[in-house]
């Protein structure tokens, strides 16, 4: 991800800032400009709480190589790591990593809460991308 794109996504990565439709109250994460339920374009920023439940998950044992040929310390050094689809208590679903546990500890339906971690760290020179991941409660 380019530096300007990382910068633009800081609110959603750091604080789970999504969007709320001002007409039908639908919540969206990641944020979007138009409500898919009612077509409204007046959507305001909305901070989602970091609690949710695991809907499904997979264990990554071979991370994707970096297209630019850089060594990806994170998540590369974390293998095996767990990627899950999480349904937040307020409704929206998102894809994120489950941390501080082994693959055997993760089960569908387990409750999770958000934590602040490094998302991507490429080599010793690149910018570090931070944001929310999740851990088991």
């Amino acid at each position: 991800m380019t530096v300007p794109r990382i910068w633009r996504k800081i609110p959603q990565y750091y604080n789970l800032i999504g969007k709320k439709c001002q007409k039908c109250n639908s919540l969206y994460f990641p944020p979007r400009d138009v409500c898919t339920h009612c077509g409204e374009i007046n959507l305001q920023n909305y901070k989602l709480e970091g609690n949710g439940e695991i809907i499904t998950f997979t264990v990554i044992r071979t991370p994707m190589p970096d297209p630019e040929g850089e060594i990806i310390d994170i998540p590369g050094r974390q293998i095996p790591y767990i990627i899950a689809i999480i349904k937040l208590d307020q409704g929206p679903c998102l894809t994120s990593e489950i941390v501080d546990c082994s693959p055997g500890e993760v089960k569908i339906g387990k409750k999770v809460k958000s934590v602040f971690r490094k998302i991507v760290e490429k080599g010793p020179r690149g910018v570090i991308q931070y944001g929310c991941k999740f851990k088991l409660i």
Binding site: I10, Y14, N15, I71, I72, D73, I74, P75, G76, R77, Q78, V99, D100, V115, F116, R117, K118, I119, I128, Y130, K133
Partner: protein
């Protein structure tokens, strides 16, 4: 004007490695190392944790505990020996993560293990002068210790953050002072991964001289003695130094025990005395008095005389205490620890 701590937050990573496990790798006697250092195990940051992520977690705990509007925070100062960037501040990432700003000032601070307490002093000055309403002062580290070096047994990870202000104070800072000299007992040169140290030289002319001189000067100025304090916290590079310093000063084991964490989590460097103070605030009662003396190699000590106020009971239980973080742990073996702490490169 009264200035003090408005709120506090702490964070310690979940991973631990036992001193015994490290000693086994280097053919050392685990019992002798444990007895010599007074440390049984230390905290280890997860692969995706660094001083910034620790600072954010501790800051979010401090914000949850308080009713401070993040937009009212006018200064963000973090002391650390392990800021992830050489150029780009830790404070900007933390402020964004707690939704503070953009009307705040920040700079990264470094003075070995005492930069966090120096951050408190700077925030006190800014609040007293009327330049800011609230300042965020933190000490955080993912401490470095070279494989096989004595520091490897103690260098740990964690941190604590204090919101400094003049309204709704939970702990009044009655007085602060520093004792500083050019004493090269421990250092890390630019571009070096691990610090170097003067071995036994880190003791008498360094740690003990600064801790004891700062603390004695504080008690002389205020006309107090050890019996006037309910708690005392001294920087904890290992289990032996703070115990010996407190005995020399006349403090009892009961006074230092609540803030004594090094035997369970190791030396969290800039986080050390700050986490000790946070653990004391977790249990202290109104009107109780606390003495805190930090130590940073190079070398200096900051000393604080603090009185707990009635407000503390209202906010204490809003977030988990330091002890919950200490009890929540997962052990690593040395191979996993090497992977976590980047002892080897990825291909």
């Amino acid at each position: 004007m009264t200035v003090g701590i408005v709120s506090w937050g702490a964070y310690v990573p979940v991973y631990r490695i036992k001193v015994e496990e490290i000693a086994k790798i280097w053919g050392a006697d685990p019992a002798a190392i444990e007895a010599g250092l007074g440390i049984k195990e230390k905290s280890v940051p997860a692969i995706d944790e660094d001083s910034v992520t620790i600072a954010v977690e501790a800051s979010r705990n401090a914000m949850k505990r308080s009713s401070v509007d993040p937009m009212e925070i006018g200064a963000v100062y973090f002391g650390s020996e392990s800021h992830p960037y050489a150029v780009k501040p830790t404070g900007t990432i933390v402020a964004e993560a707690i939704q503070a700003g953009p009307n705040y000032t920040t700079v990264d601070m470094e003075f070995a293990c005492k930069a966090g307490t120096a951050a408190i002093q700077i925030c006190m000055g800014l609040v007293k002068s009327g330049m800011i309403n609230y300042g965020l002062a933190g000490g955080v580290d993912t401490a470095q210790g070279a494989p096989g070096d004595a520091l490897e047994y103690s260098a740990a990870a964690g941190g604590a953050v204090f919101i400094i202000g003049k309204k709704n104070i939970v702990a009044k800072i009655n007085h602060t002072l520093s004792f500083t000299s050019d004493t090269p007992d421990f250092w890390r040169r630019e571009h070096q991964h691990y610090p170097s140290h003067g071995g036994g030289f880190t003791g008498e002319p360094a740690y003990f001289n600064h801790i004891i001189s700062a603390t004695k000067r504080m008690m002389k100025i205020l006309g107090t003695s050890p019996k006037d304090y309910d708690f005392a916290v001294f920087h904890q590079p290992n289990g032996k130094f703070p115990s010996r310093a407190s005995k020399k000063l006349g403090f009892t084991e009961e006074q230092i025990k609540p803030g004594f964490l090094v035997d369970k989590i190791g030396n969290t460097y800039s986080g050390s005395s700050m986490l000790g103070l946070a653990a004391v605030l977790d249990i202290a009662k109104p009107a109780q008095r606390v003495l805190v003396t930090s130590y940073g190699s190079g070398a200096g000590s900051d000393c604080f005389d603090i009185t707990i106020t009635d407000n503390i009971n209202e906010i204490r239980k809003k977030v988990p205490p330091v002890n919950d973080y200490i009890k929540d742990k997962k052990y690593l073996d040395y191979a996993e620890y090497s992977k976590f702490t980047k002892h080897y490169l990825l291909h």
